[in-house]
């Protein structure tokens, strides 16, 4: 079984998993309104790290927070990153894309390549293997975990370190603005009055290994799947095709009653949340509580799948179904069990669901103590 042995989250809400979970549980959000930032003509609401705290002329902020997150995750884990049987998988959509704006920096242009950014990380940790960068739009963070499961299952590595990262910039914000996808206020996932998404900065790390026997309190990555809508490159399927199919594979023969919740993508765009409601109902999971963490962090893109999996593990450990911040009145056509309040649960498993541009969708089943 593939087991999670360490994790960390670096976000505006904190630099440890515990700080992040405590902040989310108490309802705190890092979303703020920015007016005139980066010379952008339109204001926007986002969850941003303090750029000055990470300023450096040797490493970019993306590289710095990945290194910081991995270092903190590995504290006390007893894993030597110079081992040949340790693999790094980085999940990111845009990496150092801000380097394309030549006014902004003194870094060599080649650092804009995702593989070079990842090599800067493995160089720091003295890891001899070529890092794998998963760049699969907004589902990257779950894809990277599925890749890790496969590499460990094949026996090629003893540990896989997965780190998801994205840092917002004029490039990304203006692009989402041009798409009319950003909410003018804090986002409202699954709500009748949702107006779009917010973007966010984060890095999040999960370390996996393979074990034959798993303790009751160990988290197991059970099954994951990636499926395409085969419908449109920038709009989700009207039948929730890819998400429905990914959910079906991830659920497998597990009874839906055993799931504490589905942690949905829940970006708060009109189309995404509607599509997820269709897919969840089609997969026979309409009775399972659904939540979204975008009201706390915004959409952290390449980090989202990793960050939201970690927060969800913490929530189950705490017997808690986290409330969906920003939600008030259900605004999707298929009934979902969404609440803005934290709720108690004694169940020990959840599904992380994501979808993204390119028609891609991913689902991952995580269970405490494994499937039993």
């Amino acid at each position: 079984m593939i087991v999670c042995v360490a994790h960390n989250i670096i976000s505006p809400l904190g630099v440890t998993t515990a700080d992040n979970y405590a902040a989310v549980k108490s309802g705190r959000s890092a979303l703020k309104r920015y007016d005139g930032l980066w010379g952008l003509p339109e204001p926007f609401v986002a969850s941003l790290l303090d750029r000055d705290a990470y300023a450096d002329d040797r490493q970019t902020i993306d590289e710095k927070i990945v290194i910081d997150s991995v270092s903190r995750a590995l504290e006390g884990a007893g894993i030597d990153t110079t081992w040949t049987r340790v693999l790094f998988i980085i999940s990111t959509t845009k990496g150092n894309v801000f380097l394309l704006d030549k006014r902004a920096n003194a870094f060599p242009q080649e650092r804009g390549r995702l593989g070079m950014m990842a090599r800067e990380v493995t160089r720091h940790f003295g890891n001899p293997n070529e890092p794998i960068v998963v760049s699969n739009a907004c589902i990257s963070g779950v894809c990277a975990q599925i890749e890790a499961m496969r590499y460990l299952e094949s026996g090629a590595y003893d540990y896989v370190i997965v780190c998801g990262v994205d840092v917002q910039s004029a490039f990304i914000v203006s692009g989402f603005q041009s798409f009319k996808a950003l909410s003018p206020d804090e986002c409202k996932p699954f709500d009748a009055n949702r107006q779009g998404l917010n973007l966010g900065d984060a890095a999040a790390t999960i370390v996996f290994t393979k074990k034959d026997k798993v303790g009751d309190n160990e988290w197991v990555a059970c099954r994951g799947a990636i499926r395409n809508d085969a419908n449109h490159i920038s709009g989700p399927s009207r039948t929730g095709e890819g998400s429905y199919r990914a959910l079906k594979v991830a659920l497998g023969d597990m009874e839906p009653e055993k799931l504490a919740f589905i942690n949905a993508h829940g970006t708060a765009t009109s189309y995404n949340d509607e599509m997820e409601s269709i897919a969840i109902e089609r997969a026979g999971l309409a009775g399972v509580p659904v939540n979204s963490l975008k009201g706390y962090y915004g959409h952290t893109m390449g980090a989202a799948g990793v960050l939201e999996t970690i927060i969800s593990m913490q929530a189950v450990d705490d017997h808690n179904i986290l409330g969906t911040r920003g939600f008030d009145t259900l605004g999707v056509t298929h009934p979902l069990d969404v609440s803005n309040q934290n709720r108690a649960t004694e169940k020990r498993a959840f599904i992380k669901l994501l979808s993204g541009f390119g028609g891609c969708n991913a689902a991952l089943l995580m269970a405490k103590g494994g499937l039993r």
Binding site: P131, R150, F171, G175, I233, F357
Partner: protein
């Protein structure tokens, strides 16, 4: 087991080891290949260079496989790799926001600033509901690619994969080296 392969560079096209005749080079070559071998998919002209390259290469590959039905299927994955991610599209989008006095961010350009869009284009064309994925490594490495594709057969439904390298740094510099592989029993 590898069934078919396609290589496209700015001046060579090779299908299953045999050169395919053409007159043009560079970006015009992709348009020539589209007109000579496909012709019925005008969405091609909206695509960025990476998607055009991957789309053409996959079409030549699937024509070599033959018996194209376009029936929906979930047992075929599309898993591609490259070095430059979506650099050509990123550069084109950056040009729409670089000048504060001429700031017109283009949604049509922005949508291609993700390397996995090409896998979506191939899935849409062929009605593939299976896995699509995009992975970046800084140098072409057949061992890493083949190990990764072999791992992808751990998915319970995947029985064949369109996989390989699809890279472009700008409209005139590109390289595709893709193949169709089937699960070994």
């Amino acid at each position: 087991m590898m069934r078919h392969s396609v290589i496209i560079t700015p001046d060579h096209v090779i299908v299953d080891g045999n050169p395919l005749m053409h007159n043009e080079k560079g970006s015009v070559l992709l348009t020539e290949l589209y007109r000579n071998n496909i012709g019925d998919y005008p969405k091609f002209f909206k695509m960025d260079t990476l998607s055009k390259l991957g789309f053409i290469a996959s079409e030549l590959l699937l024509n070599a496989e033959g018996n194209r039905s376009f029936e929906p299927r979930e047992d075929r994955a599309v898993i591609l790799f490259n070095r430059h991610a979506s650099l050509q599209a990123d550069t084109a989008y950056q040009a729409t926001i670089q000048d504060p006095d001429n700031f017109f961010p283009s949604p049509a350009a922005f949508v291609y600033t993700l390397p996995n869009i090409v896998t979506g284009e191939i899935a849409i064309r062929n009605k593939y509901f299976g896995e699509t994925s995009f992975i970046v490594i800084d140098d072409y490495d057949e061992k890493i690619i083949m190990e990764n594709l072999k791992n992808a057969f751990q998915d319970p439904m995947t029985t064949s994969i369109i996989g390989g390298w699809v890279d472009c740094s700008d409209e005139e510099h590109f390289e595709a080296k893709i193949f169709l592989i089937e699960k070994e029993n």
